[in-house]
Amino acid sequence: MSRSLTIAAAAVLSAFAAAGATAEGTGGAKAMNDLEIAHTAYTAGNLDIRYAHLALAVSENQTVRDFAATMIRDHSAVNDAAVALITKLNVTPQDNDLSRALVAGAVEKRAELGGLDGKAFDCAYAANELGYHQVVNQTVEQNFIPAVTVPELKDLLGDALVTFKVHEGHAEGMVKSLNCG
């Protein structure tokens, strides 16, 4: 794992690591409820969409641009399904510490990416996408899905995880193809 990837993953991991415990209510922390998990999952998708828009604005690499377009398309579809579900259930997702930490981390990451261009940007974006999806997928699979109580939300997270795991594989291929060293 490259140094930049490790740093990228660590930034998100620090936020999700706390949630890993809180989603299950371990470590003395208050467990996240379904509405908080829904909010965080939606937020994580939205943040990746924003990273993708930045990539489309900056990168001239076709592999990176194709990946970014896929992130926008797929995460928008997942989040649209989430909105349809919360509308159907007539509930409101709840903001929480993890969502706020993710947003704060993304602000820093976008500032970092915004100062780059060319191959440096492509490599940093690709590494962040791989690290982000690795951590999000692990959290969704091991913490969120087991913790949620509403079957429809559990199903939605399961379907979303299928998509996110494909993204993780694509990101891994993108990192390799860019030969970032």
């Binding site: 896929t70 398309r73 797929d74 579809a77 399904a81 379907d159 299928v162 998509t163």
Partner: protein
């Protein structure tokens, strides 16, 4: 309106139904009265079945079960479903014998194959 106009409209509508018609109207495969309709389900980022064998004139119907949008796009460029959201359906009729390779334009690792051969 001339007498031929309604017939022309009907012909266009029928052609549209056959080539890319409404969802949920799949004809049972093997119907002796018409072309067989073969369904390909897009699920978990894969075409299922991945390979199909048809008779000339048969129709393939793709339906997307994934949350993510997909396409069924011929490598030759001869046909393309366009974006299929979850539940979206696309139909394509295959008249000429041969093998058609296709893929998802959004997730190019997803690939499928259709072989058309006379009995």
């Amino acid at each position: 309106m001339s007498r031929s106009a309604p017939r022309a409209w009907l012909a266009v509508a029928l052609a549209g139904w056959l080539l890319g018609g409404p969802s949920g109207s799949a004809q049972a495969a093997g119907d002796a009265a018409g072309p067989a309709v073969h369904r390909v389900v897009i699920d978990r980022f894969a075409f299922e079945p991945q390979r199909l064998e048809l008779r000339p004139g048969d129709i393939v119907e793709w339906i997307n079960r994934d949350l993510a949008p997909h396409t069924a796009s011929a490598e030759s460029g001869d046909w393309d479903s366009g974006e299929l959201s979850r539940g979206g359906v696309f139909r394509q009729r295959f008249s000429a014998e041969g093998t058609a390779l296709y893929f998802c334009a959004f997730h190019p690792h997803m690939r499928g194959e259709i072989t058309v051969a006379a009995p």
